[in-house]
Symmetry: C2
DNA sequence: CGAATAGTTCGATGAAGATCGTACTACGAA
DNA sequence: TTCGTAGTACGATCTTCATCGAACTATTCG
């Protein structure tokens, strides 16, 4: 079982504009909410989304490049999880606040 | 001196996607940072911004319609201030987190 | 190996939105 | 009432980006 970390920005490279812009898109926010429910990470394809696989890949890349989530391969699957520790360190309260929004 | 509140969404009407999208634009984030420094509100024109007045008006409208700030007239001037109380109630920690980002 | 599975990349398209200049409105001062 | 100031509204333009289908990569399984 191959296991590899996909490229992502270091904590110091994360920019708040990119994070906010990434979170400000409905589909991506839906992804983030799904990840928040499963701290151990989840395979991209298992999140139910109203878009095609290619669009899904685009959004996951955007979130990863913004520093919101981290992804590693596990065989043919890609497991993503929130970079909660980094985000909480950089912007304490932000993630909690976003996720506290009812629906 | 005329004084009038400009139309804005009720607290219950504020949507987190709109807030995040509004905050995820560099010029608008600059506006929000400026407002955070002056709780008593500030005239739009006094915020130094790298855009023309019409673009500035566009961004202020976007922020107002998203529920991020409130604006009232004071003579010919329009004073804006953050809707900190509403945002903190809806998304506790969000604003603090965003503003804690260094630059 | 070959087939199946999970997911990406690329190019095209259409929609959203950031920007500007110009024309306009509202208010206060003279 | 006329002028100046503060700011908005509108229309045009240009850029960004969400979306898709099709082709591709990588990995596991038989």
């Amino acid at each position: 079982m191959t296991r590899k970390q996909l490229p992502q920005p270091d904590r110091a490279e994360i920019r708040v504009e990119a994070v906010l812009q990434a979170l400000g898109e409905p589909v991506r926010l839906q992804i983030v909410r799904a990840l928040a429910d499963t701290p151990e990470g989840i395979a991209c394809g298992e999140i139910e989304l109203p878009v095609t696989p290619s669009t899904r890949a685009h959004h996951l890349r955007t979130l990863r490049e913004a520093g919101v989530l981290t992804t590693h391969t596990e065989g043919t699957r890609r497991i993503s999880s929130l970079r909660r520790e980094d985000l909480d360190a950089l912007y304490p309260g932000l993630l909690t606040g976003v996720l506290s929004a009812d629906q």
